[in-house]
Symmetry: C2
């Protein structure tokens, strides 16, 4: 079988070496314009030309969890799109979000500022029952994050498009459950896929429904959040602040107000990085399984084009 | 039964109200010099005079997990010393230590410094297998911390005085296992009781045995750590840094080098705070159980005077 590697902003050599070692019977090449069509492709933000040159492609393996960019492109007719399915990302997400939730709840930023001034400060312990965390998006990453936060004994709520059940937490779903979910949430974590239905979901109307003193953690996509609405609600005092890892434009433009806002913590899209070894093992395993007879549609991470994730 | 409340640096009224509500058949009073002797006492750093005036005391309930200060005093002959047994502390410890471990491992301090300078930075993801965490002290708090860190998929090692078994981690014990424990540890977490045997345990000799790039998290007692040895090993480059919540003298004296050291994070003894409601419920429950016939020695948290914890 022929496999093409076509990833923007990615050092190709170690991926090629890893994929070749894992799939010794196959031909793995970096794509070049005009190269013969292939059976499988490993992609990240491929050019449209690549997709247009693949009449026989069976599957596109995206080396990230989010496929929103790919879903806006013209895809080969019969190719399945397959997302990374965890591959070491869920533990990173659990770490990132736990760190942000704990840091906010325990006021470690405030202690740090006090210590910088040489102040041994006292702050009254807060009650974790006053800080219910609502996780939007209950896929592999969202469920892992929610479960981890439960272990820290926070009240945890979940919200997803279709109904889910996760032990130890109340799960809401669909438009019908959204207002109730928001109004019972103080710390909002966004782990939704980006689709036309979820774009701008963190707007003034929805963020206003959070409990007073609400806090926003966005680790999904920048376009889920209406930047100016977040800033207005923080500046008005309804929200306490935010930790943001993803932005409408990345890198975050130098003039953007998020950089300097005292109640917003910015990180450079680092919450869950693609881990090469884990990803190669997962993708090679899936290709081998399909070659051994498994139907592509039964692979974990296959995207439903109607849903967009 | 008569119960005395004798706690330094603690607002008495809410404790008295809570204990009286929980033990309606008993007399709960704040101690005053010369008051009649009592049957039970709820204490935190009590004056020696209080202890000397208690010939009939059955038990001293310490409103903290560490009893090192109490064990240095002259105690009533037949009184058991009972520590808080979790009472909402283990989840706080798990939070504090997870936050410190994640912050160090994920380089969030570095990202924060970059963002302050308007830099959208790239750092190569580190492998968690390169960051084994060693937890010293496997009591209620240590075991909770170790188990929580396992969920973040760090290799976790434990060390305790007497042999313990905790699923998913390698446990060492006693003097015989100490060197092997240290040399396999990169992030060292101290949750030991402070006893003559553990004082100064984090000294130059022992800290030198940690893996290069070692990191120290002390949430037990300041006297476990030899301050100048830690600083020397950080400054020499063998250790990467430390997060310290406890100190030989608290508040940390203004001239102490920890305040300003760029690789040491200081917090004002806030890792696990005594939670009043949880503690009152636990202590009142134990007193009620003893009055109902349970032997004091079978209570959770009873201190073995020979061990000192």
């Amino acid at each position: 079988m022929k496999i093409s590697f076509c990833c923007t902003d990615t050092k190709a050599e170690p991926w090629l070496a890893g994929l070749r070692a894992a799939l010794p019977g196959d031909e793995v090449e970096q794509w070049e314009p005009g190269a013969p069509p292939v059976d499988y492709a490993v992609v990240w933000m491929p050019p449209q030309q690549f997709l247009d040159e693949q009449p026989q492609l069976k599957a596109l393996f995206n080396i990230g969890a989010g496929v929103d960019a790919l879903m806006k492109m013209r895809l080969p007719l019969h190719a399945a799109v397959v997302r990374l399915d965890d591959a070491g990302m869920s533990v990173q997400m659990a770490e990132y979000v736990s760190h942000a939730v704990i840091r906010h709840f325990r006021e470690f930023d405030g202690y740090e500022a006090d210590v910088k001034q040489g102040k041994w400060s006292y702050r009254k312990p807060r009650l974790r029952t006053d800080f219910p965390v609502g996780v939007m998006g209950l896929g592999v990453l969202g469920e892992r994050v929610a479960t981890t936060l439960r272990q820290f004994e926070f009240p945890v709520l979940g919200w997803s498009r279709s109904p889910k059940e996760i032990p130890g937490m109340q799960c809401f779903s669909g438009d019908a459950g959204f207002e109730d979910f928001l109004s019972a949430t103080r710390i909002l974590v966004c782990l939704l896929p980006l689709t036309p239905g979820t774009q701008d979901i963190m707007n003034r109307k929805n963020l206003s429904r959070l409990m007073p003193g609400g806090y926003v953690i966005n680790v999904a996509r920048g376009a889920h959040l209406v930047d100016e609405d977040l800033i207005a609600l923080i500046d008005s005092g309804h929200l306490a602040g935010a930790t943001l890892d993803v932005f409408r434009t990345e890198p975050l433009p130098p003039a953007h107000p998020f950089w300097q806002h005292p109640r917003i913590t910015v990180t450079p899209h680092t919450s869950a990085r693609t881990l090469r070894e884990e990803s190669i093992a997962q993708i090679a395993g899936k290709i081998a399984a399909v070659q051994a007879g498994l139907t592509i549609s039964s692979l974990a991470g296959v995207v439903d084009p109607k849903k967009g994730y």
